[in-house]
């Protein structure tokens, strides 16, 4: 990074943390947070300016606030989920026992081992708008995608997932689903790109994906936490 650029970015990072950037400038700057260098500048300013935090008398919020949070996150439904989850696990176990029995009758057929989760990431913008949870399985071989909450996609548009390999161009990991849980097997190029990535990103594309092979409009990125 050139020194003049670095100084400008540092100044913007300072005013971003201080809160004095105008709304559009703030949004534009947040796109640059994709860069680890800019992220580090912001973090340094957050630490520097933490000394300005006032020590305020705590104020208890009304109970309605918590109820609103519960509704937004559907926490009550989640609390009921364990029973359903155990039923699903029991059903899966029964299936695998049956499958195991069947496989032992066919010499030479080896069951495919289940891959372990080796990395994961949560992708989100505003809480009401978008949220995916991405799990990387095995040696960057497969992805599990869980859709938490996706709304407001413009007509004729798609969301696309990208690996951001360090020092290389973004590589598409495919379109992101808008409902349910999905499983995806990656090809060799995607595996290599994901192996060299500390972050993944989501872009807004026309329906069917990026026409150029590079992200059209990056919406946000998130770190990939390796296990």
């Amino acid at each position: 990074m050139k020194s003049a650029n670095r100084e400008l970015l540092d100044r913007l990072a300072a005013e971003y943390v201080l809160g004095t950037l105008r709304y559009r400038a703030r949004r534009r700057f947040e796109r640059w947070l994709l860069s680890p260098q800019v992220g580090a500048l912001v973090k340094a300013w957050e630490e520097r300016l933490a000394g300005l935090e006032p020590q305020l008398a705590p104020v208890a919020p009304p109970a309605a606030v918590w109820h609103g949070i519960e509704e937004k996150l559907e926490l009550r439904r989640m609390q009921r989920r364990p029973a359903a989850r155990w039923l699903a696990i029991a059903a899966s176990l029964a299936f695998f026992v049956m499958a195991g029995v069947l496989l032992t009758w066919q010499p030479g057929v080896v069951p495919v081992p289940t891959l372990e989760r080796t990395a994961e990431s949560s992708l989100q913008t505003d809480p009401q708008t978008i949220y995916w949870h991405v799990q990387v399985l095995g040696d960057n071989q497969e992805l599990d995608l869980h859709v938490q909450n996706v709304h407001d996609l413009p007509p004729g548009k798609s969301h696309e997932l990208w690996a951001l390999p360090e020092g290389g161009a973004p590589v598409s990991l495919g379109l992101l689903p808008h409902t349910g849980d999905h499983h995806r097997v990656l090809n060799a190029a995607q595996r290599a790109a994901l192996a060299g990535s500390k972050q993944i990103a989501v872009s807004l594309e026309r329906e069917g994906g990026s026409p150029t092979g590079t992200p059209t409009e990056v919406l946000f990125a998130a770190p990939l936490s390796r296990a």
Binding site: R22, E47, R48, A50, L52, L56, V59, A60, W66, P127
Partner: protein
Amino acid sequence: MNRIDTLPPEIELAQLLQRCAAQDSAAFRTLYDKTSPIIFARLLRLLRRRSVAEEALQDVYVRIWQRAAQYELGRGRALAWMVTIARYCAIDLMRRERMTLVSDDSLAEIADESAVEDGGLEKPNNFEHCIGLLNDNTRQCLTLAFVEGRSHDEIARLTTNPLGSVKSWIRRGLLALKECLSAERQPT
């Protein structure tokens, strides 16, 4: 008003955040109970209107739940991480809506800065020394921006100073603060 005079232990908050990352909703409720009075007070200070702060508080905790996996244990303090989410959420709201910040009558009540007797959010080493080196105008501008979320225009209006001077004081103040804090970190 429910007051707590000590902050919850950081390690406990960090562990609760880890459990939230694993989608433990009971841990999230505990985290909310322990921290929401602190976060709510901060939002009230920034947004000044109780109804707006209550709405923002919901959004802040939705973000905390969804981003819990991004909190890195051992890097940064859990409460500071949560307060930063709250500040950004409030600033986004104020800048987006270009809110006219007319306070509720309760502002005097919420502006009480004396109640936390033990602990508080961690300040960088020598922060007090470095902030003390700034001139009064600069210190006032930085405080109005950071603590109250005021824009350049609002600060100029509130302090009856020209907008250009306010921008310049803030820019130079940030630079001076950075240099002073960096210098204080150098080994002697």
